[in-house]
């Protein structure tokens, strides 16, 4: 991968800084084993990376140990047009979720603003040869030339990855779908838009159940929207959804068919000292994730990440400041719309470290045991393959160290919104505009870069 980077640098250096809108990565997701990594972009394409199986017995330095290479690319969604409202429907992939693997094929759900699709990703590395009635190209043979019968045999061929759409779940949403989540029962999944959450069965495309509806009778009374939703990892009847007012609602589907009434509501009382006109906007939760254990919740609002205990509703158990230095700049960030950026947050495999993105290609990791946070950078210039990521710092006062970045020189166009953490190992995938960075925590501290 390093060599490829070099050659592309030579040939396309003048194009390097030109980012086509369609190449901007909009979602990143590992599958349950971590062998596959799917990314969706604004152009409606999905690129799947697969981890190369480790080659044992070679020299450890040079072996391609577990690098991710492109496995398959396909066009998931096309731009569409809503004739009723005369508005375009973007093909941008909002979310990808993998289904638990049940056979040799892999299944993933991908969604744009309106339509969810189920894709089957299968490999084919052999094909039958030796047909009696067809020749090698598939043309029918002249029957008179057939003198003997042969049994077709499967011969290995080059690996082919086929991706086929298996289900299209359309017309379920009036508003923009922001989340999908596969249930632990393996049969259903939920899709959430701004005002409603629907539950689908994976095999049924013409029908879905509406389980949450917060649309007011009079749209003028609308003050709150749904921003994210997720099923509990173990309990198939529980799901959580977050709102633009910073509340989290845990719903139990056993209680009623329409879960407008929450079972629990998680809300932190507002800090009166920090109140401003932007208090509500920055309290809007942009992402919510259950921990792998199922006991904790991780939420991201504009300035912080918070860990909540499902058993305690009155407030988070941990709060981490992601970029508190932006608090005094909220007006400017409101003006250039950055205040509406939706950052994602992720747990590591053991729920001991949480990670989220920030601006200037920075992303932050917090160790829950020590409470300490570290800032890292996903930027081509400063990371060579197999180089150790060095920590960065935003200068907010005190003694200024070399390499500190001032708040005023942060690049707010370089934002890390989407990321994923390998379900078992310490491998992270960071999407920075149109680049995907994969960092691995190894003795050799490798990293790779893909475009």
């Amino acid at each position: 991968m390093g060599e490829d980077g070099e050659s592309s640098k030579l040939n396309h250096s003048f194009l390097r800084d030109y980012v086509t809108e369609a190449d901007v990565i909009s979602t990143v997701e590992f599958n349950q084993t971590g062998d596959l990594l799917a990314t969706g972009d604004k152009g409606g394409r999905v690129v799947i990376f697969r981890r190369e199986p480790e080659v044992k017995g070679e020299e450890e330095e040079l072996a391609e140990v577990g690098e991710y290479n492109v496995y398959s690319t396909f066009q998931s969604h096309e731009p569409d047009f809503d004739y009723l409202k005369s508005l375009e429907i973007e093909e941008k992939i909002n979310k990808i979720r993998w289904l638990p693997q049940q056979n040799a094929a892999h299944f993933l759900l991908s969604t744009n603003d309106k339509t969810i699709k189920l894709w089957k990703v299968s490999e084919r590395d052999r094909r039958p040869e030796g047909y009696n009635l067809k020749d090698e190209e598939g043309r029918l043979k002249d029957i008179s030339t057939v003198t003997s019968l042969q049994v077709p045999v499967l011969k290995p061929t080059d690996l082919m990855v086929e991706v086929r759409p298996r289900r299209v779940f359309a017309n379920g949403h009036t508003y923009h779908v922001n989340s999908i989540s596969v249930n632990s029962d393996g049969e259903t999944y939920l899709s959430a838009d701004d005002l409603r959450i629907n539950m689908w069965h994976l095999d049924i495309t013409d029908r879905s159940f509406n389980i949450v509806d917060i649309k007011p009778v009079n749209m003028e009374d609308l003050t709150e929207v749904i921003t994210a939703a997720e099923f509990h990892p173990h309990h198939c009847h529980l799901f959580i959804y977050s709102s633009s007012k910073g509340t989290l609602r845990l719903c139990d589907m056993r209680a009623s068919a329409l879960c407008d009434r929450h079972a629990k509501i998680f809300e932190e009382p507002e800090d009166p000292g920090n109140r401003s006109f932007f208090s509500e906007i920055i309290s809007s939760v942009s992402d919510v994730k259950f921990s792998h254990s199922g006991r904790y919740l991780l939420t991201r609002d504009y300035l912080t990440v918070k860990v909540w205990d499902l058993n305690m509703e009155k407030g988070p158990v941990e709060t981490y400041q992601v970029h508190e230095y932006l608090r005094s700049k909220l007006c400017s960030l409101y003006e250039n719309d950055c205040i509406f950026d939706k950052f994602e947050c992720v747990w590591n495999s053991t729920d001991s470290v949480i990670m989220t993105g920030a601006y200037n290609s920075f992303f932050r990791m917090f160790d829950r045991e020590t409470g300490r946070g570290v800032t890292l950078e996903a930027w081509r210039e400063s990371s060579k393959p197999r180089a150790v990521l060095r920590t960065r710092r935003v200068y907010t006062g005190g003694r200024r160290r070399r390499g500190d970045v001032g708040v005023d020189s942060l690049d707010f166009t370089k934002k890390i919104l989407h990321m994923a953490w390998h379900p078992e190992e310490n491998i992270i995938a960071i999407a920075a505009t149109n680049n995907l960075y994969i960092f691995q925590d190894r003795v050799n501290s490798e990293n790779t870069e893909n475009q």
């Binding site: 508005l87 923009h176 003050t223 929207v225 109140r275 608090r327 007006c331 942060l410 934002k415």
Partner: protein, 381 residues
Amino acid sequence: MKPWPAVCPSNCSVRPLAPSPAQLAAWLQSQHTELSTFTHCNLAPSGRGAAPLIQHPASKHAYVAHHQRTEVTRVLGCHSCCRIDMFSKGTKRKFSDDGDEISDESLAGAQVSSSYSLQRQSLLDMSLIKLQLCHMLVEPNLCRSVLIANTVRQIQEEMTHDGTWQVVTETFCGGSQSPSERLVATEVLCRSREQDAEPKLFSVLSYEGCREEEVVTDETLCSVSVSDTASDVCLSESARHCWERDEFVEVDRDDEACESSRLGPGDDDDDDDNDDDEVDEEEESSRVDPKTMGQVFGTFEIKNSAPGPDSALEELFSDVDASYYDLDTMLTGIQSAPKMGPYDLLDSLAPSHGPPSIGSPSNCRSDLNELDHIMEIIVGS
């Protein structure tokens, strides 16, 4: 690295056909800056002709005359948000029975509150522009629109409350009216929804560390906050009334007859004090170059173009119309016929035909003339 993007951020779902919010905000800022350099009379309580008073850098209770134009510095290239010391409205304001006596403290309060109001106003402008720009090819982001709309509502609510208690900072409309009554603000925290009595609550745009000498005291800037008056006529807190009052007051900036605009419901609530309070605000606003203000507030022009006061009043009072200007349609970019509702201000931002025009002074002028006529009739001469 250019810190502030000149174009919309990459994940913005809006494809700008109209100027970007930043550009429009910059345009707005240029208007504000223009206003700020307009030297303007008067903070002196006795009334007319005094030189502008600048807060002494060391003490915020001392005022010195300053004849130079005060510039508004910008913080971080934030166009509409000037670096103004408006960190708090901490100064306690006293209700003075004698309208002519105003203590330094209340002046200071006026200073801070005026710059705060300016900030708030510019935030309101920005928010409305943002909502306006939702009308694009792609369906606008509902979450963003709702958050902006909530911000606008919040500002409106606060303006309702503050408008009642706003210190009237000046007067002088060619001497035609005297500010006999100054309703000096009491503790602004009389607002019902505030629990905490901390003045710090009002650091709505946190600009910590702003130095005092950067306080802009120009009258024009204070007068920009004219929108939060018109409190007398309607003490109710319904958002709709807030919108309507603001509309009318903002347009009332022509300089002639600066009578109060008794164009809202609840005339029974009026008393003379409030009238004059109203009057003062009118005069103060009228001092500003109407054309400039017209351009700035051109976006807030009243959609109602029917002549005569009656239809204007009727529109104001037309409560629930059959087809409300639905938030849904607004947010999805479909324009319906303008109705007077909580979002009719937004409606006036986007005429149902043609591209949104930020400045249309001619419309403002005709409206101004109508309303002047209205005021004359209602108030009498």
